[in-house]
Symmetry: D2
Subunit: 393 residues, 4 copies
């Protein structure tokens, strides 16, 4: 059981960490939305605050006064149950509320939450399970947005013609100084899903259940930039036999020739990183690829992607956490999956179609946010997350 003190600290640290991520930004960086998937940083700051206001303060805090009547409209993301919201691709058109005002909003919500939790803590009953659950979801929701903040900032700066750097300390490329090996996994029944009732998890991990796996092998090491470069140089993007029909359309329509953030400058491949533009780090794990590219690479290697079940069954045999790893699994409900009622139930279930599961975590994932049963998911064409791949066969 998490004790209340720890919970309040956890909340406050999380709130602080979100702001720390934004420290290197100029005010202008908070405002823009270059593509629909990338939200303006100030929107993330407001939205994560709105979440606590909407789901905890408004319904549970006595005499809670909304910071601003129109902010729910501005900062709701996709919760149909909670009323109208700014259309997602209009977020970048809003210059107001300004950054300072959004920080006021954040601080107001943080402070109100702190007061509210402290008061409850000092009552006889303490914080109820209901509130604890909502608080934990709110904290983990904010941790998810911390990762999105990082990747959205990378997109905003990395698509600016001046290619400004974020800061000098963010290390995207961890060292993988070990040999590539195939891990042999044995046929049989495996338990999949989250089963620790004392630890937080999302509803999409629940319903621990049995899955039958056949013999398979899985690599102990992520595919590297050097390996992917060989694929590019061998004409991988032009060889239609390696691609899904849909992937090929995507490659041709968008004229894709390399991972996102790769620039060929006078014959030499560079990549934009949060530390600025630099030559490709050949030993680093490949990043910023779509599922289509991950799949095509496996075809070229006469291998395949692991399913999310194979990944979970094997994960304690290899290092993971620097890249979100595309799996072959579609994002689907586990047996006995049930959606929570109301707005909180919109968290995961309504996205369970035409997306792929990614497992692991990335260099942008917040501390303590991922775990072996964590199921991330994205559409097959998206690349602005730190996405990579691991071979199976």
């Amino acid at each position: 059981m998490i004790v209340t003190d720890t919970l309040v600290s956890f909340f406050l640290e999380t709130r602080q960490h979100t702001e720390d991520i934004c420290k290197p930004l100029e005010i202008e960086d908070y405002v823009v939305q270059p593509i629909v998937d990338v939200s303006p940083p100030k929107w993330h700051l407001g939205h994560t605050s709105w979440f606590f206001e909407e789901f905890i303060l408004k319904p549970y805090k006595l005499n809670y006064k909304l910071f601003h009547d129109d902010f729910a409209f501005v900062f709701n993301s996709y919760y149909e149950n909670v009323g109208k919201r700014v259309v997602r691709n209009d977020r970048g058109n809003l210059s107001r509320p300004g950054v300072a005002k959004v920080y006021d909003y954040r601080h107001y919500v943080t402070s109100e939450m702190k007061d509210f939790l402290t008061e409850l803590h000092n009552t006889d009953k303490g914080i109820s399970e209901k509130i604890k659950d909502l608080l934990l979801i709110g904290i983990h929701h904010e941790k998810q947005h911390q990762e999105l903040l990082t990747t959205d900032i990378k997109y905003i700066l990395g698509n600016n013609p001046l290619l400004p750097k974020y800061n000098d300390n963010f290390t995207e490329n961890p060292i993988q100084n070990f040999e590539r090996e195939w891990i042999d996994m044995k046929e049989g029944i495996y338990e999949i899903g989250h089963n620790n009732p004392d630890a937080f998890c999302y509803d999409n991990e629940l319903g621990q259940h049995k899955v039958y796996l056949h013999d398979y092998k899985i690599s102990n090491k992520l595919v590297t930039n050097a390996e992917y470069l060989t694929f590019i140089n061998a004409g991988g993007y032009e060889d239609f036999n390696l691609w899904h029909a849909e992937g090929l359309d995507w490659v041709r329509t968008n004229n894709i020739k390399a991972p996102m953030y790769w620039h060929n400058i006078e014959g030499k491949w560079h990549q934009y990183t949060l530390q600025g533009l630099r030559e490709i780090d050949l030993d680093a794990p490949l990043s910023h690829i779509s599922y289509y590219e991950a799949f095509a690479y496996t075809q070229w290697k006469s291998c395949r992607l692991p399913t999310e079940f194979e990944w979970e069954a094997a994960q304690n045999n290899f290092e993971w956490g620097s890249r979100w790893e595309w799996t072959e699994s579609a994002y689907l409900p586990y047996p006995n999956y049930t959606k929570a009622p109301g707005a909180i139930g919109e968290y995961n279930g309504k996205f369970m179609v035409n997306q792929k599961v990614l497992r692991g975590g990335s260099v942008a994932t917040s501390k303590n946010h991922t775990r072996p049963t964590y199921r991330n998911f994205f559409q097959t064409n998206l690349r602005w997350q730190f996405t990579g791949l691991r071979l199976a066969k």
Copy 2:
């Protein structure tokens, strides 16, 4: 083992049946392509002929003379390995080759194939396994197009403001005169996939393998028009909690209010059928719905769709074959799936992303074409096939 005589008859009967389907058409009906998914009937006639020409006659028949040099360009569908092709949504812009010419082409190919097979049959070795395999694929390919022909004709006539009927004999709505019951299925390991080496199947059914299923219940009866009408009348299309986010976008963008071919005429629901416009048959199995609608209906019933594995494991406990049944399963490769080399390998594998599996078969499916392991697949928004659903929980 299929003996050669039977094979030749099978081929000739298939070729004939395709033409029989077109008997009720006027010449003009052969030409149009109202949406990208619906091909002009004359294109189906040509394309199924081109398949035999391209994959059997051209490579294997000595001194085979192409019927026309440009027809490969006109009638190739999506085989990247076989060169350029008319873009799919331009098929309806081609008035030439005319219908008579396309029939000439068909008859030429049929006759050349018959000669070729007969000659081989009369040699000592008979027809080689290689040719038999290609022939069977070609026949089953044509049977798939027979179903598409039927549904495409329905679309062409059913979206014409005059609503002409196809013919009086085509019965879309079989009688389901039995009670609804839940079939109880027991937890355990089930064998999934095709394992009869003597019978034809597609590559996507192969790799028979073990799947672990938990206890589940599956309905013995398809959802009926009457039941779905209750969902409509209860405001199912407006209740956002029932839909995937993507499904809701689809409903709103396309202003969907009922299954395809349903018309509300002065307060009374009608449906366009191949026998013309008539009042809704309440007892008939629901048809022409998207996956999104199938899913929303299950949510409203607090049930779910079966997975394709659950369906296959239970299928001998219920009647099936009048509707393609949407399953919850994404269309993915089975363990050990391998793609055939070259153009034939493009048949299935390259579509294994962002589609859903449908099981069963429909009133438009050609005789002997479906089986318990058959995996049909479509994008989640498509409705012009005879698609329905069966509840599980």
Copy 3:
């Protein structure tokens, strides 16, 4: 004054000529609509019949029985005053009514019209001025569609990969065996517009009025293919200084490199004509260019296009009638232009924005259809008419 007998003959000849244009077609050619601007030939046949039915037979013929209740819906083009209509880009999706049925409709309308006119003729009063006016508009309307029929047929056949010819007798390229000269026109006031009350004209030609023209020169000869080829070879399509900003976008977006129907086959320019594909006729007047291309060519020659007023003032000094000639004039109302009330008023006025005037006539224009004051008009990007240009300075 046109006497009634002549009028009836004029009507019947016009009706017949429309059908003559379609003689070389196969049934399939009547059905398709490859782009929104090109209507299926059977639609033209029906629409020109509907015009007489809607504006004459229905309101004026006693006890007239509509041929079919739904045909007004199918064959209305753009008349908002006359109710709903099939959306323009859906015309090519309609296989029914079939071609035979449309001819039945034509013949029914022709016959009813003939009876109606003959009866009126035999009364004491004869055909009223009101009916005569409507009849003449109907006939000239049909002549306009005769030209569209020809150009739409050219588009349908000329964009088919088999490039079938229309017939051997249609001469697109008249001989221009005379020297190029500049005609000097003197500054002063000119009378512009139609002023013969006994002759038919459209409302957009009326309101004869004075226009002040400054000294100008106009070429006696249309620009030829040979001359335009020099422009192409000099890089005219790539030199942005020659183009309007909007024209440059059009060139780049559509990857335009030559007039419509030009094909560069192994380094040699060919053009598709109604007589089939043949090498470019260098001496022939240039055809099938957009206004943007016409303009860019004038810039390259340090000249300009004439205004429609300059063209009309000078027209009896040169030969014209083989190409519709783009002018610099926007399509605008003449002073004192007044729109007829009701549907007939929709004929011209509602198109007087963002289009350019073309003057002259073309090899596809029906006999007696054009005249010096005739104002044709199209959007600046359209090329499927026989459009050319004449220089001024």
Copy 4:
């Protein structure tokens, strides 16, 4: 003749005024681009500076050092002759260079220009005619952008759900306290265009020439909000007979029901102004309408719009300058119009197609920027400028 001292002051005042317009902005307001036609304020600040750098400092100032190598790429608008530019609808995705940096750029350019002009002034020859011409174009170019800055700011704030005001002093709605009258204008020849060689004008006003006008009447007063409200209440937006076909499409596709910035709040019409949201000022001249709306209103009044020639011939008989007045004239070159060579020639000529001329000026037009011969021009659907109309007949 303008003496040099005055020129330098004129330059410096203009530079200062641009910055004054931005005074009320928050930093975030400088960054966004809600629609393609509206540029971010910081872009205007940079672009008007780039203009002086590119066309004067770079070619003419000895040893001039560019402020930043990449700024030409960022701040070029549409000059093809000067190299690549940021695509227009990407301007709002650029958070860098930040606002402070853009002001540094401005001040650097202003200071370098001041030094350059002062040095020239102190030489024997003084500032050459060539430089004077470029300087004047640069100043008037900046004045045009001052008006765009104002209207773009209005769009950015007026489309924000919080509807923040710009400032309290900006008066959009001047008083028109005089009676409506028709001014009678006599038939005859009028001189049109600019003919004072000592005063600045754009190339599109040159080529003074004769135009023949017929008798006409023109209103001494702009159409008011009250009058337009009557049109709205009479169902003007629904009556298809009043609209161009293209205008009707625009109304239906965009669901237009009132001028831009009008909000019907609980049955009462309000308008967003730079002073914030307020009730409609009934006596104020109508503003923020498209050409399509202006035209439809004239049809409803059985009147018409004046041509630009009629407007210019009559303009000293009425007050003007609070609204850009749509005319019926298409934006076309005057007789003898010649484009300047190189990039400066791109200023006007390449837009002379499919746009309409507006005459007069508006409350947002900078002092001394407009004149009776000034030809403004926009596409027919645009409404974010202060556009209104005056009736003619």
